[in-house]
Symmetry: C2
Subunit: 503 residues, 2 copies
């Protein structure tokens, strides 16, 4: 496939090699910055080859583990393959791989859960140690180290800038028409030299369409034509549709009250079915000329672009189903006018999120009656995925929604509890809690007032009386009545679930 | 004292009246925005007169309560006087008055604990209801509604802009030489019209020295010569000096490692003795040409300006002892070149804090072994003061310290606990935990690693074995080993204290 090479720089063609050879350049103990965000734009060949190398080393009795830094979640060929051979010493920031999760929760692998907007700057600050190698997927290698990014940007700019050695995976499956869709901001600096980031609208372009890499650092180029881990799209279920309905009704109410324009404000949403349901619901809403400033562009948002409701979307990654990916590729020339992909330090930057006045919609594991939110831990001890960008958005948003079905695991778990078993978003950062039961608007409410609306509006009827009972007894019996809690009982719902399989 | 009037606008002189008359313009049920931040620049006459009016109403059997919105904490003449007569329905954001605290924790008064940077924008967004009256202390009333601000700025700009009616207290005790020391930024907008805030150095002036108020809204002017609630200065105790020593040693280490310049980065610190001790320690440190970008300028920081170590300080309030206040006033011409007071939405703005790369140093009530921090609640239920600006700074800082003595209440309480009883700062936002025992640098550590250094470095030796024992049993017995917790036991230290008076 010589004619198909996308390595246009003749000087770099000599560094094209097999994934095995490239993986051989990564030593044990290395910190490796890999591309990839929500199953998009991750390297597909080198991590698998590296996993084989690690397995062989372990079979010889040699230690071999690395630190894996990414944008966010990747795919079985990266996190899965490396975790299966016990090749990851430490993983950051967000991940969603079942094997990784199992190893982390077995205490066999370390995981650091960092706000997505913090990752790049912590690396620049030198807070996470030295970055040895970058393994980054690109769509093409142009001249002089200019790279056409692939279906996600994530932390790639930082990995390319900071790593000693760079391994590129050039993916022929990624459309060459991606060229021009990215906006890579090279204006970040270390304090005290930082300047305002000149972005005031989701469609603003403030950088260049290319990632830049010192060609001298590129030690290997691996060619591939493997597709992204495109997710299966499932139509929103009834619960998701009900949650979405409450959100959209509330937004309509805010427009009526004059607190939001009919174009709303730029939308952010986490991934998953509830998010897709919200975007499906927006298609039939009275709002017009919407924009999005978010992390991940999913099917629901692509449909909204298609329908003309969403005039512009800024993200750091595409995360599409097979069907949507095909549609995206077919109409890429048109989508390129309406979509921009940015580094995650910009897509998730507090400065921009606050300035734009984002409407943030994120999922959660559980909320408590006072509006504290747990986004990351199951029963206090086990990690699910990670905080991702939810903190970046929730704290700095104009309006911040946290959404979940009111029950989980066939109704044995209440997602509204007396006290969350882990806090990722404090009472100070949570404005609206939504379940299929209803919506609790916590703005301007003191803790006891919050408890009443969360229990009444959001809890499942099966658990509502017990929550009401806890709250009333706490108001009577707690040592203080600002945020009344019975500490002997506050976490007993989780303890009961662990013991008896039901809360 | 006719010649002493500071109301220069002849048209407004006719609105000078007694505090009683002015208080008569505030109806029951009103939301009142009052000036005041850390005992500086709060109105001193009208709240006391209003309290008398409320007491009289209550004696007649008439209901009379108001909503009190401020910058932060005020003084006995405001929070104390109104709380004593049960005159406050709802209070926001930060407060530290003992009577208020008692009423809030008795469930007799509502309190909403909001990030200080969020308050102004929530009012503009219409999230907290309508602001009826502003009661704002100023140093002088110039022509055309131009006001010389007093010893704090807080949310005064927003109160003056948003309230229907404005009552000014003109305080002759505040130096007229304050004129020119303030920088009031009038460039804030509602989304989607926000622009970058053009501040890149603590000394930048981006606004005007004056607060502006539509003269038509000024319904009363009350003259006073009462001083601010100047705090008594107590020299740092041994514990505070040890905490400060660890912080300064760590900063020196970061300079040596090349992660910080020898001028450090702009300093922020909470109020109190530990903060003063840090600034006392900095006076003898090798660092030079320091700057501060903080909320409150305390004695320690003034000394540092005096000594030449601190070249510039930006804050929203002065909070000085009698002695320091006298010295400040005497040398105000010189201090005015080196100090600027800004609205708290700017002093605490995430955009600016992140851009400048602040070194944030805040106190706390307790931290848990995994690095979650409780800044607000005693034993989970009772409010102490509030989160203040600690969240604004900690999340967006370059480096974020949380400091406390390792024990409280004569050693009966451990400030390092298995699980905090309330979370204000999550594991994602806490980088360095410091007690007099030592310092735990949590950067780049996974939860179990964090637990080891927090217990080893920060816990008091009396409680260390029990924390170690909890952690080891949790690692063995928890359902997951990412953040191992025994939920039956996680809050048992607090429950034990409530039951037996010792953890």
């Amino acid at each position: 496939m010589a004619d198909a090479t996308r390595v246009q720089d003749p000087a770099l063609r000599g560094r094209i090699m097999s994934a095995e050879e490239a993986a051989g350049l990564i030593p044990t103990g290395a910190n490796v910055g890999m591309s990839g965000f929500t199953g998009a734009g991750y390297p597909k060949e080198v991590p698998v080859a590296l996993a084989r190398r690690i397995m062989a080393a372990h079979e010889r009795g040699d230690p071999f583990r690395i630190g894996v830094w990414t944008g966010a979640s990747t795919a079985p060929e990266l996190d899965g393959a490396l975790a299966k051979v016990d090749g990851i010493e430490m993983r950051l920031p967000y991940q969603s791989d079942p094997t990784c999760r199992e190893r982390i929760n077995a205490g066999q692998m370390d995981y650091i859960d960092i706000h997505l907007s913090h990752v790049a700057q912590f690396v620049w600050f030198g807070f996470l140690g030295h970055l040895d190698v970058a393994v980054v997927e690109v769509a093409a290698v142009l001249d002089g180290g200019r790279l056409v990014p692939s279906s996600s940007v994530g932390n790639n700019k930082t990995w390319l800038d900071q790593a000693d050695k760079v391994i590129l995976e050039v993916n022929r499956r990624q459309s060459l028409a991606l060229e021009g869709m990215h906006d890579i901001y090279y204006g970040t600096r270390l304090p005290p030299h930082r300047q305002p980031i000149p972005l005031v609208h989701p469609s603003d372009r403030i950088g260049t369409p290319y990632l830049m890499c010192d060609p001298a650092k590129i030690v290997a180029i691996v060619e591939t034509d493997q597709p992204d881990r495109n997710t299966r799209f499932t139509p929103p279920d009834e619960t998701s549709r009900m949650i979405a309905g409450h959100v959209i009704e509330f937004l309509g109410h805010e427009v009526k009250k004059g607190r939001l324009p009919n174009t709303l404000l730029p939308l952010q949403s986490g991934v998953g079915n509830v998010a897709n349901a919200v975007f499906a619901g927006l298609k039939d809403s009275p709002f017009e000329n919407l924009t999005a400033y978010t992390e991940v562009l999913q099917d629901g948002m692509l449909d909204l672009v298609d329908s003309g409701k969403l005039t512009f979307a800024s993200a750091t990654a595409l995360s599409l189903s097979h069907e949507a990916a095909a549609r995206f590729e077919k109409n890429i020339e048109e989508f390129r006018q309406k979509i921009v992909l940015r580094p995650q330090e910009i897509s998730n930057h507090p400065e921009i999120i606050r300035r734009l006045g984002i409407i943030a919609m994120n999922g959660m594991i559980e909320a408590d009656i006072y509006g504290n939110v747990n986004s990351t831990h199951v029963m206090g001890s086990s990690i699910m995925n990670g905080i991702g960008g939810s903190g970046d958005f929730a704290r700095n948003a104009f309006l911040s929604f946290f959404m979940t079905p009111s029950v989980a695991k066939g109704g044995t778990i209440s997602c509204i509890v007396p006290m969350v078993s882990h806090v990722d978003h404090t009472e100070h950062d949570v404005q609206v809690v939504v379940t299929e039961q209803g919506l609790a608007d916590l703005r301007g409410l003191a803790p006891r007032q919050r408890a009443r609306v969360v229990i009444e509006n959001c809890a499942h009827p099966h658990f509502r009386p017990a929550l009401q009972d806890y709250f009333e007894r706490a108001v009577r019996g707690a040592p203080g009545r600002h945020t009344p809690h019975l500490l002997d009982e506050a976490l007993s719902w989780h303890a009961r679930y662990l013991r008896h399989g039901t809360m």
